[in-house]
């Protein structure tokens, strides 16, 4: 039996939810600088509108 645990709510070209989970690199601040920016910006810039472009 196969049970689905999790699946994305919506596929988006851009406009994300929680980016901190993606860049799990060994480097020191890409996790606190790069990802955080993406998360905040897309949250505040209306992802739906961006996706329609």
């Amino acid at each position: 039996m196969i049970k689905t645990i999790s699946t994305p709510r919506e596929k988006k070209v851009t406009g994300c939810g929680e980016c901190r989970s993606t860049c799990q690199s060994a480097c020191k601040t890409s996790c606190t600088v790069g990802n955080q920016s993406c998360e905040r910006i897309t949250r505040e810039e209306n992802p739906e509108k961006i996706n329609r472009k």
Binding site: G17, Q24, S25, V33
Partner: protein
């Protein structure tokens, strides 16, 4: 592609095309492995095989299994969004594994002037296009060695951003040695996130993170960090440790941190070529087993109501991330730059001081557009080794600097890092599943 894996007695199927995670019984896992990967086909009844095939077919129809993967190149944002501001290239600690040459970055120890810091802010604002929210990470060396400059830079950035209808989010990465009441109050008022370096158990921390006179720094920072975390409320912070080949039992360090009241923890594998500290092939088996041990303890704590946030087990498969991010990672060298004390620009802190990657300076802007173009073009699709990897849309192809430093090519993933990454992702998926149904 699908990735079939088990964590102890639990069996999972991750579909990288759809980003879906499924759980199945062992027979189904063995059948799928035999059919789509390798391994002996299990002896199953015709009814069981029909049941498995029906499940597969139903999920395929829903686009949740064997879904097509994205193959298109990412968009290339042209606007800057963040700076890593090396407010000083000096440090009050002498940590053996420091990638930054114990704060000096293989150059002279120096501090960024307020004028240069302001020019860096101007550079970011000028190059940020329509972006409303920008970010600055105060980095070093040790930023608390020049707190006054940090304070004045924050005040300047806020004022200039307000004129343009923009907003800054600030982060500081600190060793906490100078984290006094004044700094704590400032951080809690102005910093969106604070990253505090602490490696875990005293003996582990002290073996590497020493003061300039060669003594361990644990006793000098632990109470500062505790005091800060108690005062932090619900604002973001990470207590961030580094593990080396000297403490491959690093789950004990994570649990030590949790036992000390820290509920937001990260523990990174060291990035170094120092022979007796680096993580290499020979350590991978132990490291992967240790991640499993940590995952079990993480879930036990969660079940007991004493859960903590461990950065690398945070897998958000439902909210997901945007395609651009999934294929292009951190944005270093294109959306995000490091500024060293004299104002020179580099793709990120890991490249700081390497003249081959000097992109320009905050006064004159980006002079080496070719370097920016190169970084903007880096993606999953320029990393051939990533093509057959289940983890690619989660790790985003890894860290360019890490690839460059170990493999000599930003587009060649370092296999040791990949192996640890994949194990952490499997642990994260297991944790997600068990937390979700409460069966841990």
């Amino acid at each position: 592609m699908v990735h079939i894996f088990n964590f102890e007695n639990y069996n999972y199927i991750y579909d990288s095309g759809s980003g879906s995670l499924h759980e199945c019984d062992k027979d189904t896992a063995d059948y799928l492995k035999a059919k789509y990967e390798c391994g002996a086909m299990p002896a199953l009844s015709a009814e069981k095989i029909a049941e498995i095939e029906a499940d597969i077919s139903a999920l395929k129809d829903k686009g949740l299994l064997f879904a097509d993967e994205v193959k298109t190149a990412p968009m290339k944002p042209k606007d800057a969004k963040a700076l890593c501001l090396h407010i000083c290239h000096d440090c009050n600690l002498r940590c053996r594994y420091c990638f930054a040459d114990e704060g000096a970055y293989h150059s002279e120890r120096e501090f960024m002037s307020l004028e240069t810091a302001k020019t860096a802010i101007d550079f970011l604002l000028k190059n940020s296009g329509n972006r409303k929210v920008l970010e600055v990470d105060f980095f070093g060396g040790e930023p608390l060695m020049c707190l006054d400059t940090v304070k004045k830079t924050v005040a300047y950035a806020k004022a200039e951003a307000a004129k343009l209808g923009k907003k800054f989010l600030f982060t500081t990465t600190t060793n906490a040695l100078l984290l006094d009441d004044d700094a704590i109050e400032f951080f809690n008022t102005e910093m969106e996130n604070v990253v505090l370096s602490l490696d875990g158990r005293k003996e582990v921390h002290d073996a590497i993170r020493k003061t300039r006179n060669g003594k361990g720094s644990f006793d000098l920072v632990i109470e500062n960090i505790k005091k800060f975390v108690r005062s932090r409320g619900d604002k973001h912070y990470y207590v961030r440790g580094t593990f080396t080949s000297k403490n491959l039992d690093f789950s004990k360090d994570v649990i030590f941190l949790a036992d000390n009241g820290f509920d937001s923890i990260s523990m990174e594998p060291v990035v170094t070529d120092i022979a007796d500290l680096q993580i290499s092939d020979e350590h991978l088996g132990t490291v992967c087993t240790e991640y499993e041990t940590l995952c079990n303890q993480y879930l036990e704590r969660h079940k007991a109501g004493k859960g903590f946030n461990f950065f690398h087990f945070n897998i958000d498969l439902e909210g997901g991330t945007c395609l651009q991010k999934r294929v292009s990672a951190c944005g270093a060298g294109n959306e995000y730059f490091s500024v060293v004390p004299n104002g020179d620009l580099y793709p990120c802190h890991q490249f700081a001081g390497d003249k081959n990657f000097l992109m320009g300076n905050v006064k004159d802007g980006i002079i080496r557009g070719d370097i920016r173009e190169k970084f903007a073009s880096n993606s999953l699709f320029t990393r051939e080794e990533c093509d057959g990897c289940f983890a690619k849309f989660i790790c985003s192809g890894g860290c360019s600097a890490n690839n460059y430093n170990f493999m000599g090519d930003m587009n060649k993933p370092y296999p040791v890092t990949c192996a640890m990454m994949k194990k952490r992702i499997e642990c994260g998926m297991h944790a997600l599943a068990r937390k979700k149904d409460g069966k841990n």
